[in-house]
């Protein structure tokens, strides 16, 4: 193996210019709108596209909250309401969190973090991205025909009898993004396995990359099963098959199994990369090594494995035999353990650090605070006895918004702020960032906390009209959602203004140790002008602090020094 050879031994010459590097010195703005195989361009394409869909889906949520401000269905037509609730969920999951976290940050960061020049299959990567706009067109067509109205779960028989055309295009949408997700996952696994620079040991791999390994495995093994479920649904709708038609011997519960076999792991698809982001942000901004590197890395893999066998907890009230309810209850509760390990590890990382409350860390800590809440309510839902009461109520809605909004979206915001200097080469505005955090944090809790009470008291989810006794709390939720709606403004202003006119960012504004900070901001087209050097572990903060103090060496200077020595 050539890889056994340490590059340090050979003269660290710049890579010989080869004939097939046909790219300009620097990407122009229009390159970002075209087919491009650079992982950084693709990452940004993913992020911006996903953010656009986030705004659309967020607007849908505001309309729904407006409807729910009063018990009567007075704002929207009930069919439109169902279209909105279906597509809000679909877009937030498949067009925002998954593509932004996996496609966006995964693509942007993984090759940089492992010191590679690009992904293993750059073309496949670009194809995987361009499937997303195609899926966007599909869901647009679905909307034109009235949209899917059977919930993001699209359980038959409802999905078989409601707006067939909209439903069919919705299915095509999901199959398209699913394919994109599989291709992306495959690419990540090969990239991390094969392209990691050889002098980075496996236990020096940044935790974000470990999280991406776990995420990719999950995506690879669960997405195809959803695809098959959706294909069968498509055939039932359009070609008269009887998979989910009881009168033909079909079985509606089979769909639920196929659906949740993917869609429960999808929850981890949305949170595992965010866990990776958390480890990077928390360690960097508290200036302290990550507490329990191995525990965090292994717990990602544990979540991935156990996460594959918990899906029936979504079906405790469905046609589920008792033994399944028991087995999946225990498995579900077990997932809490590796998740708890992560949470405790991050708290321990913060403990004793020199915590800089910059916006990324604020979001990370906000995530931690809310994820704990969402995790605990999740444990209660894992017991079938209690789930019989809480299933399909606003308690569940509150729970998953705590983990997905309070968790994933906070993580995405944190990641955007943390890597903004690297991606754009400009610093963001700290004040606006803090205002954004404050509004989001208040809005989130005001919107989603009362939902728990509503659900426990007897309000089912996915309703456009409800019992008048729940009106007060619903009003509160609606006000909260308005704050959330407003909270996006400081973020947008900050991003647009800073990208264009923000203070130029140095290579490494956070003095972080992962490899992406060794290159310029934004990185050159093939990432590293000189080969990156693993001179410390990704989280080796606080090592030799004394000597640093004396010489007052910044990471940059250290780097330069090491580079000198090499030459």
């Amino acid at each position: 193996m050539t890889s056994a050879q340490l590059p340090l031994e050979s003269p660290p010459a710049t890579p010989p210019p080869s004939g097939h590097h046909n790219h300009p010195e620097k990407w122009e703005w229009y390159h970002y709108f075209l087919y491009n195989v650079d992982h950084k361009v693709i990452g940004i394409q993913y992020l911006v596209t996903a953010f656009f869909f986030y705004l659309v889906a967020g607007l849908m949520a505001l309309f729904m909250r407006a409807e729910l401000a009063t018990p009567n269905p007075d704002v929207l037509d009930p069919n439109v309401y169902n279209t909105l609730l279906t597509n809000h969920g679909t877009m937030m999951i498949f067009f925002w969190v998954v593509p932004a976290a996996i496609g966006g940050f995964g693509n942007y960061l993984v090759p940089l973090m492992i010191g590679a020049k690009d992904m293993a299959f750059p073309n496949l990567n670009a194809i995987a991205f361009w499937l997303n706009p195609i899926a966007g067109i599909f869901i647009g067509i679905s909307f034109y025909f009235g949209g899917a109205q059977a919930g993001w779960t699209s359980y038959p028989p409802l999905s078989l009898v409601t707006n067939n055309l909209g439903q069919s295009f919705w299915i095509l949408t999901l199959i398209t993004v699913g394919t994109s997700s599989i291709l992306g996952a495959l690419n990540f696994l090969v990239t991390i396995y094969k392209l990691k620079i050889p002098d980075m040991r496996w236990d020096e791999l940044p935790l974000f990359c470990w999280a991406m390994v776990a995420t990719s495995l999950l995506a690879l093994f669960s997405t195809p099963v959803l695809a098959i479920g959706l294909i069968l649904l498509f055939f039932d709708i359009n070609f008269g098959t009887g998979f989910f038609r009881p009168e033909m011997g079909g079985d509606v519960v089979v769909y639920q199994h196929l659906f949740w076999f993917y869609s429960h792991p999808a929850v981890y698809l949305m949170i595992l990369p965010i866990f990776g982001v958390m480890s990077e942000i928390v360690s960097t901004h508290s200036r302290k090594p990550i507490f329990g590197y191995k525990a965090i890395a292994y717990s990602s893999l544990a979540i991935c494995l156990v996460g594959l066998v918990v899906w029936v907890h979504h079906m405790f009230t469905s046609g589920t035999p008792a033994w399944m309810r028991m087995f999946f209850s225990i498995a579900t509760l077990i997932v809490a353990v590796p998740t708890g390990v992560k949470v405790f590890s991050w708290v321990a990382t913060l403990w004793g650090g020199k915590i800089r409350l910059v916006t990324p860390l604020l979001f990370a800590v906000g995530l931690l605070a809310m994820f704990v809440f969402g995790g605990l309510s999740g444990v209660t839902l894992g017991t079938p006895a209690f789930d019989l009461h809480a299933h399909d109520t606003y308690y569940v809605v509150g729970h998953f918004h705590y983990v997905l909004f309070g968790g994933s979206v906070f993580g995405l915001y944190g990641a955007i702020y943390h890597w903004f200097p690297k991606i754009t080469g400009h610093m963001y505005n700290e004040t606006l960032g803090r205002i954004h955090f404050g509004l989001t944090f208040i809005g989130t809790n005001l919107t989603f906390l009362p939902m728990h009470n509503l659900g426990l008291a007897g309000m089912p989810r996915r309703v456009a009209l409800y019992d008048p006794q729940f009106e007060d709390l619903n009003k509160l939720c609606t006000y909260g959602s308005m704050i959330l709606g407003v909270s996006i403004l400081p973020f947008l202003i900050n991003m647009i203004w800073s990208w264009g006119w923000g203070e130029p960012a140095p290579r490494n504004p956070w003095r972080a140790l992962t490899l992406e900070w060794q290159t310029t901001s934004p990185p050159a087209i093939e990432n590293f002008d000189e080969d990156p050097i693993v001179w410390a572990g990704p989280y080796d903060y606080g090592i030799d602090t004394q000597s640093f103090e004396e010489e007052e060496l910044s990471v940059d200077e250290m780097l330069a020094e090491v580079g000198q020595e090499m030459k």
Binding site: T2, S3, Q5, P7, S10, A13, P15, P16, S18, H20, H21, N22, V37, D38, G115, A116, K117, D118, A120, F121, P122, N123, L124, I182, A185, L186, N187, L189, V190, Y193, K194, L195, I197, P198, L220, F221, T223, P224, V225, A227, I228, G229, I231, L232, F235, F239, G240, T241, G242, F243, R245, M248, G249, G250, D251, V254, L258, F261, E526, D531
Partner: protein
């Protein structure tokens, strides 16, 4: 592939030629690994189908229900053809390892023909069965499962045609560089294994 050079830092740049060759080797490696991962993922799709099928079978009083029985002779012949095509395509691999492009092309052509015969047999069976997709859940399973597999066979045939097309150029494949050939072969074996399971589930299991 127009891949961006990814691995130079691991190479000893003493001689440009070895570097280039090694560089290429590395790439080949990724593609095989990538294909394996893809097939692992793809197999989950079939497993989803198989499990659903078994659930339907377990829940039904009679399987297959009356008037949707399957015939056995033609599918059995088809199975034999498809299974033996795996050996034929492997001969192609053996040939290219001996740097014999011409022989490889012959074996691949043979495999393509066998694949086409299989597909033809499948279509003939569809036409002669006398029931359709929507007759009952068994017929739905039958057509969707065999059809989905048939689609994979069709893709396999296209891949092999691609190999034939590319092998026109002398030196495109040779003894040490033939990943495209190898990938096609692996894919074909995968399609074959899936068929064996399908045959057991749809034809043999219905006998009991």
């Amino acid at each position: 592939m127009t891949a961006i050079d990814v691995n130079d830092n691991t190479l000893n740049p003493s001689t440009a030629t070895t570097a280039a060759a090694a560089h290429h080797e590395e790439h080949e490696d990724y593609r095989l690994l990538g294909l394996m991962i893809f097939l692992a993922s793809e197999s989950l799709m079939f497993i989803g189908l198989f499990v659903s099928y078994l659930i339907y079978r377990g829940a039904a009083a009679a399987w297959p229900p009356e008037e949707t029985e399957v015939e056995l002779l033609l599918p059995a012949i088809n199975t034999i053809i498809l299974v033996s095509s795996s050996f034929v395509i492997h001969m192609g691999d053996v040939a290219i390892k001996k740097n014999n492009v011409k022989e490889m092309r012959a074996w691949y052509l043979g495999t393509i023909l066998m694949g086409l015969i299989f597909l033809g047999g499948q279509v003939y069976e569809y036409l002669s069965l006398g029931y359709g997709l929507g007759t009952n859940v068994f017929s739905s399973c039958f057509y969707v499962m065999t059809g989905f597999h048939g689609l994979h066979v069709f893709v396999g045939v296209l891949l092999m045609l691609g190999v034939l097309w590319r092998s026109r150029r002398p030196g495109h494949y040779h003894a040490t560089k033939h990943t495209g050939v190898e990938m096609t072969e692996i894919y074909w074996h995968f399609v074959d294994v899936i068929w064996i399971i399908l045959f057991l589930l749809l034809y043999i299991l219905t006998l009991f």
